[in-house]
Amino acid sequence: MCEQRKQEFTIVGRSERKVDGIALVTGKPKFVTDIDLSNMLYVKILHSPYAHARITEINTSRAESLPGVMCVLSSKNTPSTRYTTAGQGYPEPSPYDTRMFDTKVRFVGDRVAAVAAETEEIALQALKEIEVHYEELPPVLSVDAATALETAIIHDEKDASGIFDPARNISAKIDINVGDVTQGFAESDFIVETTCETQYAQHTPIEPHVVLSYLDEDGRLVLRTSTQVPFHVRRIVSYVLGIPLHRIRVIKPRIGGSFGVKQEVLLEDLAGLVTLRTDRPALIELTRQEEFVSTRTRHPMRIRVKLGAKRNGVLHAIEMEALSNTGAYGSHSLTVLSNVGSKTLPLYNKAKNVRFSGKAVYTNLPVAGAYRGYGATQGYYSLEVAMDELAGQLGLDPIELRRRNHIRCGESSPIFEEIGEGREGVAQTINSCELERCLEIGAKRIGWAKKRGSRTRNGSWVHGLGMSIHMQGSGIAQVDMGAATIKMNEDGSFNLLVGATDLGTGSDTILGQIAAEVLGVPLSKVIVYSSDTDFTPFDVGAYASSTTYVSGTAVKRAAEEVRGQIVEVAAAMLESDITSLAIKDEQVISIDGRSVTLAEACQRAMYQADQFQIGAMASCVQDQSPPPFMSSFAEVAVDTETGFVKIVDYVAVVDCGTVINPKMAQGQIEGALVNGIGYALSEVMLFSPTGRVQNATLFDYKILGALDIPPIDITLLDSYEPTGPMGAKSIAEIGINGPIPTIANAIYDAVGVRLTKTPFTPERVLSAIRSHST
């Protein structure tokens, strides 16, 4: 199972240009708001100024009477159905604790009312005319306050469901035991314990959330929206608004980045309702400020990791305990929490005794949701810092410690079976793992042997090296489903229709490459159309690193079926046996050298004999979720006078199976690393004492720009995952897990301080250095 299976590909493995590239570089109207609809209404949302309050009265009559106002929505005239905004498979493993407009607000930025008007100005004006009386409740502004004995209850509504323990503000809870950790620690020769804490951070896609809704000629509701999950949007909007699913069509055009924040139904219900009520198109476009205040964030977490190892450096017991802040609503609270353990602990499968426990608690702060890395990012911080600490105690090189403990091909971990996404997981054996090479190559490229521990000085700057290793998954085993339809045209081209959602990741292109590879045509002969619930088959959407592995397999299967049909037609034309035929270079060629073109074959099937549409649909659900692996290394320089941390070099070596499109795959890692470095060093949402976001602009919330990026050196290993399409697994998320622990460990190497709280701002680093040296 584990040996490399070399396969020769023609289209797969090439850095093909993006199929939507020309349109994007020439500025064609590809995004949600790039089309003009006449008669459109502008919708603006009134957000709560209070972190926790009951709405005792809301009077919208003055707003309604303003000329140009077409519709005002609030708790008084909207469905009271409880649902979750989390765009997950059905039934969603997130609590149904949200209402379109509730009579209680739970964070500054929560929905209070909305206005649809002829112009944006009128809508904004009307918001000011809405009178709301609030009865303020004590706000719960930290996880400690949320779990304290005397605390306000955030979800005291009676009609919510799926909340673990509303009275104690616990949205979700998990407790997994393998072996016996108590005994495991007792038997260990070395024990370390580390607690690390991560901050509130936002995805900041450059395009904020936006949706345009309208009725088509037949009166069906069309939602043109910036989403990762068009099919979930359709289902959830149907449920919330109480309209039949078949009356809704969701279209995802090009979207301007997402990273998890658009795996939520945040606006579509509202736009849809406005359109249904007014018979007019409606646009909701969030401002950057609203994007920060009212959308989703990464779950801030406090995670304690305890490691027990034998003298030989082999882990014997691991305990991980996570306290996750889900904010005001429980979107993704259980599943992100589960992933803290499920995407990290199998990496060190030598430990026989493992305990993973955690709670996700409600607070009156912005709502957390899915964010690239999905809990693994937070988990790896504590785990990999603890591993660094353990290496120190054992007197082992951190790389050597990883070598003695990481999972290998042909091995398994009980964790795979114990933790799934909101339910039990699925047992799996690793079929591809190149971690050993990842470590070896990474160490060489960063200059580990020579530079680590040398603490080179340059004025007040001291250099240090750090590393960490990671895995993620490829889709959710036995849950995520993707489907693809391929139909052939008489010029030998193909329409590939996929439910999969290209967020800018390039999935349209790589799915096209997979189809083109199987069908023996250049990519230009595959017309990719994706994410339109009326025209493409179902797909869960773009999350959990599922697209290449799950949707890609569906594409491959559909293409293989179509290839079979073509060969049969050609066999009839060439009067030969199908086994003597092969497809290559847009032709079906027989061993005796005769051939027909694909176009001829299709023309025959379409117009001439035994007529039928050459085409097929195929689906895929995978029984496993093969992890991609990565080693991550950084050289940093720490300014001991100011605490500034400069990344001198960053090296990542990734095993993602077969690389379908090298440039795009590198781009996924580069983007994720830079996002992760920003998350490690500068990004943080700050709150006022009343729970208001204080830095809700890109002026005050600092993501990295071009001048901030270090030299980044990426190696994509040539590996092969037998269960993946063409040997591929995922790559989209894993990169973001690297920077925090890698940089933390490098800072430790440089100046001997452990940073246990992100972001590592210069102020924090300096204060850590100062308190260390005194």
């Binding site: 944006e120 100011t642 605490g643 002026f699 600092k702």
Partner: protein, 285 residues
């Protein structure tokens, strides 16, 4: 919409006409340079904007008094002006390259940059250290030290900045600028600058500033005092930096605590002085 009550946008072709517009309409009329701050402010008070682009105030000129920069000159035009490359070791260009980004520097004007008086302004921190002068027009023309403009905002109401002057300095003078920010495309958590003239290697005049403390740039006279009459050495620089840490007025804000800013003043002053010292010893060789 950016400025919801804006009613007129005027491009007068004479300075008097521009002035009379702002005088007549009070705070509802503003002079616009690049317009960056005005558009971002979205102020509902603004009804009239007076654009100075027709007044031939875009220039960077070497005069016998120094380098004169017209009020409508963009920061990019200043960066690209050849005369500034040799002015005080190119310190103005070095500073301006750290201000915002090209897409902002192509808009931002000299006049708007000085008038807006952002406490974290990199330009003001350096220009005050350099002893820049500004020319104001309120019916009569007069030139005042830039720092006076911030000491008394009354100087600007109503008046139009027409020019900034960077004084000419003799051989043996050097300047430096330092900026600390969270990312590179960011305003300063703290910035500082210095200008030192020496006579036989001894500091004869010293101007040091720190800005974004989070207040607007202020001179640090106690620190200058430490250096006067002395040579720049590791010891004197260290003492000056210590003095800066002790005496600079700092406060907390969202970006950093006052205590941390103290450390930055220390490092910033030390680095500026070290840089000046290098410049001076390089020049004397």
């Amino acid at each position: 919409m950016a400025l919801s009550n804006l009613r007129e946008y005027v491009r007068p072709d004479g300075l008097d006409m521009a002035l009379s517009l702002v005088k007549e309409k009070g705070r509802s009329a503003r002079v616009i340079g690049g317009g960056i701050d005005l558009v971002r402010s979205s102020s509902p008070d603004i009804e009239t904007l007076v654009d100075l682009s027709q007044l031939s105030l875009s220039y960077v000129r070497q005069t016998d008094k120094g380098i004169a920069i017209g009020a409508t000159t963009t920061l990019t035009e200043i960066v690209e002006a050849p005369v500034l490359n040799n002015y005080l070791q190119g310190v103005v260009v070095e500073m301006l390259r750290q201000v915002g980004a090209p897409s902002l520097r192509n808009l931002a004007s000299m006049g708007g940059t000085l008038a807006s008086a952002h406490p974290w302004s990199d330009v003001i921190t350096l220009f005050v250290a350099l002893g820049a002068q500004v020319t104001l027009y309120n019916g009569v023309t007069r030139m005042v030290p830039l720092s006076d403009l911030y000491a008394s905002r009354a100087l600007l109401s109503p008046a139009i900045i027409t020019e900034a002057l960077l004084p000419a300095y003799a051989h043996g003078t050097a300047a430096a600028f330092m900026k600390f920010s969270r990312t590179k495309f960011d305003i300063a958590i703290l910035n500082c600058a210095c200008l030192i003239s020496t006579q036989n290697g001894d500091c004869e005049s010293v101007r040091l500033t720190a800005g974004g403390t989070p207040q607007l740039a202020a001179l640090l006279p106690e620190v200058a005092e430490v250096l006067l009459g002395r040579k720049l050495s590791q010891t004197s620089i260290g003492q000056a930096a210590e003095m800066a840490r002790e005496t600079t007025l700092v406060r907390n804000d969202l970006r950093a605590s006052g205590n941390y800013r103290r450390e930055l003043v220390y490092a910033g002053v030390k680095r500026c002085l070290t840089c000046v010292s290098t410049h001076l010893s390089g020049a004397s060789q």
